[in-house]
């Protein structure tokens, strides 16, 4: 395999999730501490055998030096300790930074841990205002845009350019819910129809409430280690086969193109890094903050031609039993979305599926998974390709 990147030197050997959904009995810091310990235990290690920690900050409990505070809480002095903040893309950018730190000899085994509690430790209004503050303070925020409004601008442009319909977007929500229905931990499990989505409350035309991801509490952590240590791990190692990033802009009003994202760039880089193609992917774990974001990622990551994401979703390939299983935990639309940690649950689900530990929703013949996340308003993208066999 023509792997030119750093990632082939590393593998994921541990994972943990907290309870998700509505979790009022633990603060974000306590959730982060809990998943750190649980992921290390899942890897068959003790904290003394781990020498790095990477976290992201929590909106509901901001801490100036977050990773250091989590380590301190655990009475732990890791060799490498840093907080990453790239919005929704934080998860996979942190994984790549961990892999790079390991390749550079800064650590041999790193925990990446994230948690937040947008549901129980913020009011609805606080959560909306803090998230919409990603808008430009002088040239966007004064007009009162919400995060759903930013994605509605993208949705409307895609509809105008490619003939995409509100029904097409609805299929994304229906697909994620169908998978969540099979997951006992999912925040929303009741099956929904396209009609349910279309008739749900309008938030920012053309997006309805069921086109929008959840507001949740929850945390997750993974343990990443050097390849030579992975072979003796307690769990089946999940190898990092490829990684790519794409950074187009920060504010949506500065986007060069509203309907094609830098997921094209990050996807191409990850495919080149891994030597694999979209057809090789057994599982897709994409960033479904809003239904149009999911539709555009399907196009931009090469799973269909540009403009045909709606037809791809409507065809049912992503549903349980389909040929391209997508967000098999239910995604942020139905499993949970605690803010920046949202994509962690796409990663932990991919690890469970690649280990063969996904229980009743376990997919057959799993070898590869593509995980994608984005920060800002489809601004910065990170694509991670995983496999359960050691690259040669």
């Amino acid at each position: 395999m023509a792997n030119t990147g750093l990632n082939s030197h590393c593998a994921l050997i541990g994972m943990a999730e907290s309870d998700v959904g509505i979790v009022p009995d633990k603060t974000p810091r306590e959730l982060c501490v809990q998943v750190t310990l649980d992921a290390v235990r899942n890897a068959g290690l003790t904290l003394r055998e781990v020498d790095g920690l990477i976290t992201c900050n929590a909106f509901a409990e901001p801490i100036m030096y977050h990773a250091e505070a989590v380590a301190e809480y655990l009475g732990w002095q890791p060799r490498h300790c840093v907080t990453v903040n790239t919005g929704g893309g934080t998860t996979f950018m942190a994984i790549n930074m961990a892999a790079a730190a390991i390749a550079a000899g800064m650590a041999h085994t790193i925990v990446v841990a994230m948690a937040d509690s947008l549901r129980s430790f913020m009011t609805r209004e606080q959560a909306m205002v803090v998230q919409s503050s990603s808008g430009h303070p002088h040239y966007e925020q004064p007009y009162g845009p919400t995060v759903p409004a930013y994605y509605a601008l993208i949705a409307r442009a895609h509809m105008d350019r490619f003939g995409t319909t509100e029904e097409h977007f609805a299929h994304a929500a229906v697909s994620c819910r169908a998978w969540a229905n099979q997951h006992p931990k999912a925040q929303m499990r009741e099956l929904i129809s396209v009609e349910d989505v279309l008739s749900s409350r309008s938030i920012a035309d053309p997006l309805k409430v069921l086109d929008c991801s959840l507001v949740s509490d929850g945390g997750a952590a993974v343990v990443i280690t050097r390849g030579d240590r992975a072979s003796s791990a307690a769990q089946k190692p999940i190898y990092l086969l490829g990684y790519g990033e794409g950074h187009a802009y920060e504010h949506i009003s500065q986007a060069q193109d509203l309907t094609t994202s830098a997921a094209v760039t990050s996807g191409r880089a990850a495919y080149a890094d891994s030597g694999l193609t979209p057809n090789d992917m057994d599982l897709l774990q994409l960033y479904d903050c809003f239904t149009p974001a999911l539709l555009i990622q399907i196009e931009d990551l090469g799973f269909c031609a540009k403009g045909e994401g709606g037809d791809w979703l409507a065809s049912g390939v992503s549903l349980p039993g389909g040929t391209k299983p997508l967000n098999t935990h239910g995604g942020m639309l139905s499993y949970c979305h605690p803010g920046n940690p949202g994509a962690m649950f796409g990663l932990t689900e991919a690890m469970l599926q690649l280990r063969g530990q996904a229980g009743e929703r376990q997919l057959a013949d799993m070898n590869t998974a593509l995980c994608h996340a984005q920060g800002g308003i489809m601004s910065s993208h990170a694509t991670l390709i995983l496999g359960n066999e050691q690259p040669s």
Partner: protein, 135 residues
Amino acid sequence: MSRPTPRPSPTELPFYEACARGELTLQHCEPCDRFLFYPRTHCDHCHNPALEWQQVSGKGTIASYTVVRRAVSEAFTAPYVIALIDLVEGPRMMSQIVDTEPEALAVGQTLSVAFEAWSEDIKLPVFKLHGVLGK
């Protein structure tokens, strides 16, 4: 609760002073022969630091729009229209479309700038469907 209101930096001040006069001005980069927005210390294409302010037409077209049904905070009353507007001089800006029925809007429609007070000192550009007289 009041709407978020810009506190202009020295670089941005000419834009807001023009808004207060009822004029839309943009920075122009002579070497690139290109307008830019938002205001910057350097051209975001060639990084020329000598940008000149010029009054522009205030006309543009709708690149995309949304009717916000759930306001961001108590400072705003839904529904209101957020749009991305492609100015005829080139740059794109976010604004509100005011004095219109949301059902009347479509991508590609022509708009004209107007100015609304956001605070005692600050007026901001908003847009109306071109040819529609203000209330």
